[in-house]
């Protein structure tokens, strides 16, 4: 993305030809990374950006083809959440982040595939079929922002937006060998992001490098009164100089290197930590005693919030309606039975149960208590270190048809990514090696709330000394 912006200024590339090349790449890719491609709109936006560049506008996003996860509303451009129930929904307004991107002249090239309503880790639950991993099309790109990650890795766009509720930006970034940030909760407005689990959802930028990711992050964050969780704090631009690692304390939690972690992932992550040490950082062993409860807490809280958020899909105001039902109650039940896929139904059922009379205290309230303990674990750890390093996912990308029958075993793969969402802190994944099967491996960095710049800077410095992010599928 930054390379593209530079080439626009040197006039050896124009936004129109860049957009044409990306559209051609999308057509040829065979990855099913996009649900909707906006060819006409993209060409119009590219022409507008070219004019602004000619007038001397220095904006880094001008004319840059950006792909957007299909759960972020785009005015007059279909937004499906990869669900049958919204397959013909055309939003009457832009999400806050889309308003910002348009204002800065980015080209919205299309909408990317996801697990239905962002519930999943493979894109397999999409009503439009799974996306393929550009490194090996028989494997999953991860999820739920799998379309965005595959599109960035395969060069179908210059950067992309995803959303991350329990790892949905970082896990596919790890599986596809790109950089993806789950920002601090509250730093990016969710106005126009289709709600899944409101106390956890964040929109996140994804790019080929940490610098691309940082530029996109700066472009979309900021206070927005239309999201009541939006933080009104100061927003200073992220430095692109990288972080001087001398004297930086990196916490290494033992619990992130215990059972279930595959050996090749561990090897690459330990290599990354030792490189940080060579660059002057100091490693500190830390304890996060309640992390082991993270998956249980998450799979109570997220489905509970989802069951409430998804109650709006009732066949009345938008989306699918099963029309031949005479009775309102039957119309609701039949519409939702036909409009939602298996995983969404499973989570709605789980969440409804966890909130139902007689079970609320045992599940939802209990999960909220333990969530506080997890947040407290991080608060305590960050008194002893500036950031935390570990693997993003215990494994590399697996086959598209593997693990389809056992929901719990897929949930357990979220073990390293869920804690940052539960605690509201920023976390990113960046490429740090390749597994025995040749698939990319992700390193996860986490920092205290609103210290997104620390992990972005550390990632930039890491990428100044490594080439993993430059290897192409």
């Amino acid at each position: 993305m930054l390379d593209t912006a530079r080439r626009y200024r040197k006039e050896d590339l124009s936004p129109e030809s860049q957009v044409t090349a990306r559209l051609e790449a999308i057509r040829r890719s065979g990855l099913n990374a996009f649900v909707t491609v906006d060819e006409r709109g993209a060409r119009l936006q590219a022409a507008g950006a070219a004019e602004r560049i000619a007038e001397g506008d220095e904006g880094l996003l001008l004319g840059i083809p950006v792909a957007v996860k299909d759960n972020i509303c785009t005015k007059d451009l279909r937004t499906t959440c990869s669900s049958t129930i919204l397959s013909s929904f055309v939003p009457p307004y832009d999400a806050h982040v889309i308003e910002l991107l348009r204002r800065q002249g980015a080209v919205i090239i299309g909408k990317t595939n996801l697990d239905e309503f962002a519930m999943g880790s493979t894109t397999n639950t999409s009503a439009f079929g799974p996306t393929k991993n550009p490194w090996d099309p028989s494997r999953t790109p991860g999820g739920s922002s799998g379309g965005s990650a595959a599109a960035v890795a395969a060069g179908l766009c210059d950067a992309a937006l995803g959303s991350d509720t329990g790892g949905s930006v970082r896990q596919p970034a790890s599986f596809c060998g790109i950089t993806g940030l789950k920002p601090t909760y509250g730093s990016i407005s969710r106005y126009g992001l289709v709600a899944f689990a409101s106390s956890l959802d964040q929109i996140g930028p994804m790019g080929r490098s940490a610098r691309d990711t940082a530029v996109l992050f700066d472009a979309i964050r900021g206070y927005d009164p239309r999201d009541s969780t939006s933080s009104p704090g100061e927003y200073t631009p992220t430095s692109l100089d990288g972080l001087d690692l001398r004297g930086i304390r990196i916490g290494v939690p033992g619990v992130f290197f215990s059972e279930g972690l595959s050996r090749d992932v561990e090897r690459s992550v330990r290599f990354a930590v030792s490189l940080f040490e060579e660059l002057g950082a100091e490693t500190v062993p830390i304890e996060l005693p309640h992390i082991r409860y993270g998956v249980a807490v998450y799979y109570i809280i997220a489905p509970a919030e989802a069951s409430s958020n998804l109650a709006r899909y009732d066949g009345v105001r938008y989306g699918l309606r099963k029309a031949d039902e005479k009775d309102l109650f039957d119309m609701y039940c039949e519409t939702r039975a036909q409009g939602f896929g298996d995983e969404v139904k499973r989570r709605i059922m789980l969440g409804t149960y966890a909130l139902s009379a007689g079970y609320y205290d045992a599940y939802y309230r209990k999960a909220s208590l333990v969530r506080s303990l997890i947040a407290e674990d991080f608060r305590r750890a960050f008194t002893r270190c500036d950031m935390i390093a570990g693997p993003t996912v215990p494994v590399t990308a697996f086959g598209i048809d593997e693990m389809v029958d056992d929901p719990l075993s897929i949930y357990l793969l979220d073990i390293y990514t869920i804690p940052a969402n539960l605690a509201g802190i920023p976390a990113l994944s960046l490429p740090c090696g390749f597994g025995d099967n040749g698939m990319p491996i992700g390193l996860q960095l986490m920092a205290p709330a609103f210290k997104d710049n620390v992990i972005l800077g550390a990632a930039m410095t890491f990428q100044d000394h490594t080439r993993f992010h430059e290897v192409r599928p």
Binding site: V90, P92, Y93, T184, Y185, G186, S199, P225, R226, S228, T229, S231, P232, H290, R292, Y293, V295, A296, V297, Y299, I300, G315, V316, R317, Y318, G319, R321, A323, K326, L328, F329, D330, M331, Y332, R336, A337, F340, K345, R346, I348, M349, L350, T352, Y353, S356, Y363, K366, A367, S368, L369, R371, S372, L373, A375, L408, Y411, A423, G424, I425, A449
Partner: protein, 97 residues
């Protein structure tokens, strides 16, 4: 199994989901297994703690109460599966007798 068939049907009714026979059996099995996993939370004592509220607890972002235009009715109704005049159309809610 933790959940009975009746409980699955009760939850489905609360969630406004019609499930077929196969789904009831499958969800009963899968949800029971997931709830068994959740039992680990019982290891943690209940007393003394506070439920999690917000990552930035204590901060309350209030916006100013200013009038602003909202969406046009036509725009709002554009995605509706049933429209009558300027309203959403739904199946009959109240019986005739």
């Amino acid at each position: 199994m933790k959940l009975s068939e009746e409980e699955v049907l009760h939850v489905a009714r609360l969630a406004r989901l019609r499930l077929d026979r196969d789904e009831v059996a499958r969800f009963r099995k899968e949800l029971s297994a997931i709830l068994d996993y959740m039992d680990m939370l019982g290891e943690i004592p209940d007393h003394g703690g506070q439920p999690y509220i917000h990552v930035h607890a204590g901060m309350n972002a209030m916006r100013n109460d200013v009038l602003a235009p909202s969406l046009e009715i036509g725009e709002v109704l554009r995605n509706a599966p049933g429209v009558h005049g300027g309203s959403f159309e739904v199946p009959r809610v109240i019986d005739e007798d």
